[in-house]
Structures are given as C-alpha cells and as structure tokens.
Amino acid sequence: MSAHSSVRDRAKLALRDDFLRGAVHFTTDRLRNRKQAVTEDFGNWEAWRDRGEAIRRHTIENLDYYLGQFADNLERLGAHVHFCADAREALAVVTDIVRAKSARRVVKSKSMVTEEVHLNHHLEALGVEVIETDLGEYIVQLAGETPSHIIIPAIHKTREQIQALFEADGGQNLTTETRDLVAFARQRLREMYLTADIGITGCNFGIAETGSIALFTNEGNADLVANLPKTHIVFMGMERVLPTLEDLEVFAHLLPKSATGQNTITYLSMVTGPRRDRDADGAEEMHVIILDNGRSRQLGDPDFQAVLHCIRCGACLNVCPVYRQIGGHAYGSVYPGPIGAVLSPLLEGGEAYQDLPYASSLCGACYEACPVKIPLHDMLVKERQRFVANTGGKTGEKAAFTAYAVTFADHRRYLGAIRVARRLQGGFARDGVIRAKIGPLAGWTERRDFPALGSQTFREWWMTRKRGTRRG
C-alpha cells in the first residue's frame, strides 16, 4: 500500500474530506472526554498504569516461558496450537483447517492480527465466504474498505452510507435510524453464525497459567463466533499473554477505560480449550495460531522491546493531533495513529512505512494516554534516527543542516547570514510578516504568516542600549 503513495499524499486527500475530519474529531473528542471522566472517577490512575506497565514488562522479558506454559496448557486441554513465524505460515495453517473441514463459510469477530496477515483476502481466494460480525467491521467489509480506527472501525461512515450498504446486502425499507439498522444487522448476521463452518476470533489476552483466551467485546459477537460453529480458530500476536488470571483484573480495568471510557467491558469471555466431554454446546475443535510476524525482532532491542507491551486500546489515536486531522486510512498501514507509526515500520522491517514516524508532532500526548506507559514519542524519534542512519537522510535536508552547522559555529558567519537574509526578505515582508508562498517557506506560509526578521538584531539593539546606559 505504502509503496504507491506517501503518508504526506494520503494526508492531503484526507484533509480535503470534511465529513471524515468532522467525524474523527467528534468521536475522538468523545472517547477522550469519557476516558478522562471514568479514570478520574476510578482514582489512582497512575498507580494502575504503573501496575499495568510492570506486568507487561515482566511478561515480555520472560515471554518464552509464559508462551510455552500457555501452549502446554492449551494442548493439555485438547486445543491445537500452531506457532507461525510469518503471515505465510499462518495462512497455510488456515488453509489446512479449511480443507479438512470442507468449510464454505467463516464468521469472524474483530481481530487486528487477521488484518495484519490479510486473512479475509486469503479465505476468499480459497473460495470461502468470510463475514465480519462486529457491527463496525461488517459495515467496513460491505463497503470494501479497511478499518480506520482500532476500536471504532467505521468511524468514517455516515448513517446514510450505512443504510445504502445494508440495502445492497438485502435490507428492505430501512430507515437511517440506528435501531433499524442494528436490527437488520442482528437478524442478517444471526443466519451467518448458525450456518458457518468455522468461527475466527482474535485474543485480547492469553492466560499462561490456565491456557485461557480472554475476549473483550461490547456486542457479544465474539461469543457467538466462538461457540456456534463447530470449529474455533483463535488468532493472536505472540506478545498477548499474561501470567495469571489475577493479572487479568488489571487489564479488565485498563483496557475498556482507555479504549472507550467505559468502566467495564460489556462481555469478557474466557475460553479455556474446546468443549469438554460433558458439554453439549461450544466449538468441538479449537486451533490457536500464535504469530510472530516481525515481533521477535523487537525483543532484546532496548529502544523498541516495550512496543510489545501494547494492549491495542487505541487511546493514543484519540489524543494524537495528527490522527485527529488525517484519520486512520492516511497512515496506509494496518495499525494507524501513534502506535501504528511506531509499530508498522518495526513489524514490516526494511523500507516500508519509513515515512510514518514523521507523521507526528512529537508532543508526547500518546505516551500520557498509554495505559501501559509505552514511550511512543521517544520511539518515533529513534525510528527517525535509524532511518537517517540507514539511508543517509534526504539530500536537501542534509545540505540544509550542514549549512546551519557551519553558520552557527561562528558568530561572524551568523551575523553575515542575518544581514543577507534581511536584504533578501525585503521584497516580501509587509507589516512584520511574510505571506508569500515561495521556496522552502511555502509549506509554512500556505496556512499562516511567517514572522519577518526585525530591523535590528538583539545584539545590535543591546549595543545601542549599553551605550545609552553608560552615557546616563
């Protein structure tokens, strides 16, 4: 995706879409305000963040142990565990399961990892119908698009657009009332759950000590996806484990409060293996696909290991001044916002997404919002440093900084440069500002004025002032 256009080009497009900008502003404001209210009411938020950070750090520092324990427990319970180094391996596992089950229809609940490996595309190529059941994902899927927010995938769609999509999907005489639209989706998706051969969910947290999969949803779709079809496939990034059930309490507070400002999630579902012998419902067969896909490269790297602490709450998107202007699609990667700008180039490696770390003002709001205190703003700077070190940076930029260094190293050169600049600006400065959209200034002056150089420098002014004082 990013090979064809830059984040700068995509941002320009997004900035022209007034509905998108309005919707993103409205939603992110609301999520942010609700989060602030709920965390204030809850109290001791910093202590909870510290605890969350400590648990995630310990888990990742000992990840081989906890992941092994988690897999052993699942296998003991009769689940199949698949360790996959990359997307290709994960998709091969899915192909085998689909063929073994002769599956024709798959229902899914929200999972960013499946977006990462482009699972839907793969299933469709196998001739399998895939249905997203999270309401937002369902809308995005009908529109043939990808999610634009980790938590609210259809943040960019109007109710009129949704009505049209649902009518194309078989809805009749639908109004634009939310209630009506939701009723259609409920009934339509119910048929899908009951006829699907396989259900695919993500995994918010895997509990090492018990081999449990914890799923967080508000709609209850993950429960129907996991339980109604005969086969349940779980997709998880390899970093998503917690040592014990007690640790899950901390994240049952941190995640919904940070994500949507809800005190608690509506449904927390704990799936511990396939149905037992005495159970008459639930999936008979369970597969857990544990994916690396660039994650292990961050382990042992002091600059970036902490990116694996992320619990995918999306709080950093909601506070980011750049995300709030350009929305999720402009990032061109699976993960948008500050976490996406950090994570996408790391997971992908090589040249891909190298421009994303520049889509940030480095204000640090993302770090302040992060429930597990990932220093995202530091990571963005380090990625830029790494990019410059690997590529030598942009020629123009390099020349500019070389000139800057030479000029500022010597006060005579500095004063000379100021004199030249004052002469050059002469034709453009009016009332103390420059408005002309020319040369390297255009990027700035397109939207605001550039302050012109004064008629004398501070040094010149100081000299005259000193002389005056001495005389008096």
Binding site: F26, E61, E246, S269, R278
Partner: protein, 223 residues
C-alpha cells in the same frame, strides 16, 4: 514453525536460557490498595445493584424463593415470549425455580433446541460489586447458548454470591483451574449487548441480549 524452535528463538533474543524459570515477579494482579479493601456484604450488594443498573441492567431484589418465583412469573407475563429456554435441571441453580419453568413449558438445555428462544433463564456464579458484572460459568446442563442467543436474559443469583472485585472472582477461578475444574467457557456479563459503531449513537441488543434482568435472592444465613 516448530514450537520448541519458536520458543528457543524468543529466548535467544531475550538472552534467556531456553526453558528456564521466569525472573521473580515484583507485582502480581491489582495494586495492593485495591486488593486490600475491606467492605461489608451489604455495601457490596448495594454497589453491585447500582453499577449493574448504571449499565442498563435490571435488578429485582427478592426476599425469598417464593417471591423470586412470583417475580419471574410476572416478568415472563410482561414479556409474553413465544419461546423460553433455560439451563437443564442438573445445572447449578442458585435457587429453585422449577415450578416457574414447568408452568411456562420452558425448553430445557440438553433436551430441546435453544438457538431460537426469545428468553433464556440461567443461574450465575458471582456478582461483582466494582464493575456491576454477573459471572456465568457454563458446562454440562448449564449451556452457553441459553443466555447468548435470546433477546432477554433472566439470571437468578443469591446475595451471598456478590463479591467485591474481579480479582476475587479470578482467585476462585484460579483455584478451579488448579484443581482441573475450570469450565471451558466463563462469561463475565456487564449489562445488555451494546454498540456505538453507527455515528457514535449507542444502541443495545446488537448480537447478545437487549435486556438482562437479575433476580437477586436475599440470603437468610446471617441475622
């Protein structure tokens, strides 16, 4: 990829000996100020009801089993459902509601299909005061679909089942797991199913139940 190779690679990246024990933990579970709170049972019950209702759940407090059955009857009359489903008889019911179930010709899980019921009746294992959550453990006659597929979920629970925190529930589930009795599916339910995916307009009853009504039975055990 092979499991041991996958884990060995992670250990190597972390500079750890493959298969070695983890470093000692400095922190487990919720912060101490949270885990060490002491509250009375009455405070917990009041908090549970308030939180559950704030999430659009409904609570009907019942003095004894007769009152609970009468309240269930009244609720079913008002709902006027075409089909009602319930856990099987052998499920761990917190109160005896067999009379009501018989009177309404309810489909019992394990005996009749429950995927197309309008109302589902179940018990529960815990209520959580901090979050207004009902914890339903499934297995055997306590089928998962009974409370997941209908539009209305009626839950029977005792006051003595209300605990303070999610951590209190986790500790008990951990004991079950260590004894090999953790059910394959445990559901933490905090109010009806909801979504804000259409223009941020919150609506209920998307995939799960649109109403969750908790019939909370007073315990006579303490004076």
């Amino acid at each position: 990829m092979d499991k041991s190779a996958f884990l060995a690679h992670i250990a190597a990246r972390l500079g750890r000996e493959p298969g070695s024990a983890p470093a000692p933990r400095e922190a487990v579970g919720a912060p101490e100020f949270w885990a060490d709170r002491r509250t009375s049972q009455e405070e917990r019950i009041v908090a549970f009801c308030a939180k559950f209702e704030a999430l659009a759940g409904e609570v009907i407090r019942c003095e004894d089993e007769a009152a609970l059955c009468a309240a269930l009857d009244r609720t079913l009359e008002a709902l006027n459902p075409r089909t009602v489903g319930a856990w099987g008889k052998e499920a761990p019911w917190p109160a005896d509601v067999e009379d009501v179930i018989e009177r309404w010709g309810v489909r019992r899980f394990g005996e009749a299909p429950v995927v197309e019921i309008d109302v589902g009746i179940t018990g529960a294992s815990f209520g959580v005061a901090d979050t207004g959550t009902i914890v339903v453990e499934t297995g055997g006659a306590a089928g998962r679909t009974v409370h997941q597929v209908p539009l209305v979920h009626l839950v029977v629970m005792r006051e003595s089942q209300v605990v303070q925190s999610l951590g209190d529930v986790m500790a008990r589930l951990r004991d079950r797991a260590l004894g090999g009795h953790l059910p394959a599916y445990v559901h933490f339910i905090s109010g009806p199913s909801r979504s804000s995916d259409i223009e941020n307009d919150q609506t209920i009853g998307v995939h799960g139940p649109a109403r969750v009504i908790c019939f909370l039975l007073r315990d006579r055990t303490s004076p």
